[in-house]
């Protein structure tokens, strides 16, 4: 279990350029596996271009109370990048003029941003159809000042999407840290207590599963059944949907893949599982991702790789949805993670 971010440890892979080099050299550079661009050319999908923006995703900062081994953000308590209220205000203006039906807050732990509650209160007035907060669950139990968050979420009709790598303690704690499982269970029970995730409740509680290791997620529907049975039987917990998300080979997960000697095999798995049908629905085609400092990206992964949108509009202060539509989506070999099998996105499978 990591205790500090790659950045804090001054590891080579804290550098986005180095990650991109690794992803383009080796098995790809030598031609053993095809570049993602060539693969989607074969499928007639190159260049990838955006459709209507439906999801406006904001990264409120890289600070987090956890240091998960697979984290693509390299988040942790030592990360100080935090979105300011000024940038949040600019996001509100952008959403007002956007056709997006979903506002998606992520991090780090978005709740740790000092302006989080202010923002949720303001943004919930915008009448957005689906207002998501991606909560790591343990933050709800990390400090007394967060204990009322389930009620706060309820008040603003927030759709809570939470990470839960497994229904057993061992697997969860190995990926996310000692004690994470027990705290997560307690947080889920508290969300259930205010109505979140209950069978007929409108208060949506979905869980995100991502594999705790160098393998791909199995069938989302089957996993949902297993999670539902186990969490209900063992802890009396209800939730709505399970999103199975593939770990993309960047940041801490890439560091893990290389250190454990799994990198090549994992990339082979991703390439072999390439599904042309998934390309049409990859999330970068209907999402815009805003970083803590207001820059715009095709997705949260490109954000972490420092690859801004290929457009003259690159900052939220200049946001113009129409102009932004006219761009090519920037890709690299990490994109294979979103096109493997049934596809993967922040909303789980895409086909």
């Amino acid at each position: 279990m990591a205790i500090a971010s790659l950045k804090k440890q001054q590891k080579e892979l804290a550098n986005a350029k180095r990650q991109l080099q690794i992803l383009s050299n080796g098995i790809f550079g030598e031609g053993e596996l095809p570049y993602f661009s060539n693969k989607i050319k074969e499928a007639g999908c190159f260049p990838l271009r955006p459709k209507q923006t439906e999801i406006f995703q904001m990264n409120l900062g890289y600070m987090c109370n956890q240091v998960c081994e697979h984290c693509h953000v390299d988040a942790g308590p030592d990360r100080k990048e935090i979105m300011t209220r000024e940038t949040m205000q600019q996001c509100i203006e952008a959403v007002k003029n956007s056709k997006a039906h979903t506002l998606d807050l992520t991090g780090g732990a978005p709740e740790m941003n000092p302006n989080f509650r202010w923002f949720v209160e303001e943004a919930s007035k915008l009448g957005i159809k689906d207002f998501i907060v991606r909560s790591n669950l343990t933050i709800l139990r990390a400090n007394k000042k967060f204990y009322d968050l389930p009620e706060f979420f309820k008040k603003h009709n927030i759709h809570v999407v939470s990470s839960m790598p497994h229904w057993t303690r061992g697997k969860t704690d190995k990926q996310r840290g000692d004690g994470v499982f027990d705290k997560s269970i307690k947080a889920l029970q508290e969300l259930n207590a205010v109505g979140y995730g209950m069978p007929d409740s409108n208060l949506k509680l979905d869980l995100v599963y991502n594999p705790s290791g160098a393998f791909l997620p199995a069938n989302q529907a089957e996993m949902e059944k297993d999670f539902k049975n186990a969490l209900l039987e063992d802890f009396g917990i209800y939730f709505h949907q399970l999103f199975a998300i593939t770990n993309l080979p960047i940041s801490r997960f890439l560091d893990y893949l290389i250190a454990s000697g799994n990198y090549e095999d994992y990339m082979y798995q991703l390439v072999e599982a390439f599904n042309p049908l998934a390309v049409a629905n990859v999330m970068c085609t209907n999402t815009i991702s805003v970083s803590w400092d207001g820059y715009l990206y095709d997705c949260d992964f490109n954000q972490m790789l420092g690859m801004k949108v290929a457009n003259k509009i690159q900052h939220i202060a200049d946001y113009n949805e129409q102009l932004l539509q006219d761009r090519e989506i920037i890709i690299s070999q990490h994109c294979y993670g979103c096109t493997a099998g049934s596809g993967s996105s922040c909303q789980g499978n895409i086909i």
């Binding site: 497994h166 229904w167 057993t168 061992g170 697997k171 594999p211 290791g213 393998f215 791909l216 997620p217 199995a218 069938n219 089957e222 996993m223 297993d226 095999d265 082979y268």
Partner: protein
């Protein structure tokens, strides 16, 4: 290193190539293989655990790699995996030991 061993983990990736030297039989095999592992009276998860146990009994390192990963993907726990291996081991040792009856029969027949 890999050149000096009979088993190379990377060869598992080339499994599909066996079809190249006998297209008809290879295709029939993979078609059959795929069908066997589909959800049926047994769940795909149960089949994966059976495959893991058999992989150990036939001592196929490729199969062990493949079905350990398959189990992880299906959320199979390490406790379940180890129990499956023991089921295979129990049958295998039982198969050895039940021949002990043959030994006893032969012993008694030959002895005065």
């Amino acid at each position: 290193m890999a050149d000096n061993t009979y088993y190379n983990p990377k060869d598992l990736r080339k499994f599909g190539k066996i079809t190249e030297w006998s297209e008809e039989l290879g295709a029939k095999f993979f078609d059959y293989y795929g069908k066997v592992f589909e959800e049926g009276a047994l769940t795909a998860r149960e089949k994966s655990l059976i495959a893991l146990a058999v992989s150990h009994v036939v001592k196929c390192p490729y199969c062990i790699d493949a079905y350990t990963k398959d189990g992880l993907q299906r959320g199979v726990t390490k406790e379940e995996m180890m129990e499956a291996v023991h089921v295979g081991a129990a049958i295998e040792s039982g198969a050895t030991l039940v021949h002990g009856v043959q030994m006893m029969n032969k012993h008694d027949k030959l002895s005065m």
